[in-house]
């Protein structure tokens, strides 16, 4: 499965779309979306601010694109990590580990996604923005279903006690993504340790 990439080979050779997304991920990820001037992104790429509108309809359209790409990647990574597992508890562990097997850019993208999640709730006025929003929303539901289905499989096999799989799935997912609110690569605790701690928590939550 091809992982969703910021740099899209579908674009023309002169296209700066990829560069804009990379720059936007850096700025939105470090200072936050609202705190970042759209013109700063243009400066970083080395083009005038109006040139941005050749690639994105608006600043929000760029943000929504980043969010959709990250959601697509998360979903793909979940599928990839769990496809060969048959034993429920191992499948659960693999899914958690996959969620934390990310690069620094992907950490920023997760942070952007979490910080702006509420943007997906209300319709957008422009067409292209709305398309990205709806796509992102569907991916959110898909990721939620990934977890719900994993839990239901384990429950029906008798490996986990039977509980409301949907609510439990949201709780597990909520705990995992909450890490991106506070984790910084420069922090005291390495990500591997956090991953192990969360893995243990999830297993106890679900399988005991």
């Amino acid at each position: 499965m091809a992982r969703a990439r910021i740099v899209d080979p579908e674009q023309g050779p002169r296209s700066k779309r990829g560069a804009i997304l990379v720059a936007a991920v850096e700025r939105f990820g470090e200072d936050g979306y609202e705190n970042t001037k759209w013109s700063e992104v243009a400066d970083r790429v080395g083009i005038g601010q109006t040139a941005l509108y050749h690639y994105f309809e608006s600043k929000a359209h760029c943000l929504l694109t980043i969010m959709r790409l990250e959601l697509q990647r998360s979903h793909d990574q979940f599928v990839e990590a769990t496809k060969d597992e048959t034993e429920p508890v191992e499948e659960l562990r693999a899914a958690v580990r996959a969620a934390f097997a990310v690069t620094e850019q992907e950490i920023r993208q997760m942070r952007i996604l979490q910080a702006n999640m509420s943007l997906l709730a209300t319709p957008r006025k422009s067409k292209r923005e709305e398309t990205e929003r709806v796509a992102a929303r569907q991916l959110v539901q898909m990721v939620e279903r990934d977890w719900t289905n994993l839990l239901m499989r384990g429950m029906s096999k008798g490996a986990y006690p039977v509980r409301d799989a949907h609510t439990l799935g949201l709780a597990v997912l909520g705990m995992i993504v909450s890490v991106w609110r506070w984790y910084r690569p420069s922090g005291a605790i390495p990500l591997s340790e956090i991953s192990e701690m969360i893995e243990g928590c999830v297993v106890r939550m679900v399988a005991e």
Copy 2:
């Protein structure tokens, strides 16, 4: 312990500060902060938009005030709920239940708090905004410490296995607050059921 109230008796009798906060909580909670025009809040209160600046230095100052008040309330409620408990697992359960014993307005305030948490990360230019931001940040740390301390007490009493109490506390807190991202009073699952599910999850995560 007096719970932090939106309507502050310290204000003069003619003051509309409380009414503004109530209106802002409604609008920010339903449509989101960015999606809400500051003038809509004024309309709802029944004053001109410039009158808002008599009470708040800016739209952001109002938001930060709402966030601080909600954090204060959360902290107070945690303290209130756990002060009489001596048995660690019961104390843990009481803390989780307290986190979900909220009114509809408080749910909106939690939603606003969660959606705009990243605002607390970067300094504000104006003095009064920065004061509120720093106060809110300290309350976040206080709430984190509430959980960390509860976990450490339980560990040192031998009631919970010893783990990194800080990271575990953040995980527990992250799971609890993540509920406010998706829960709606109109939804299919009643809050009491969610509360019970999370309570069980937290106990298994921490005490097993």
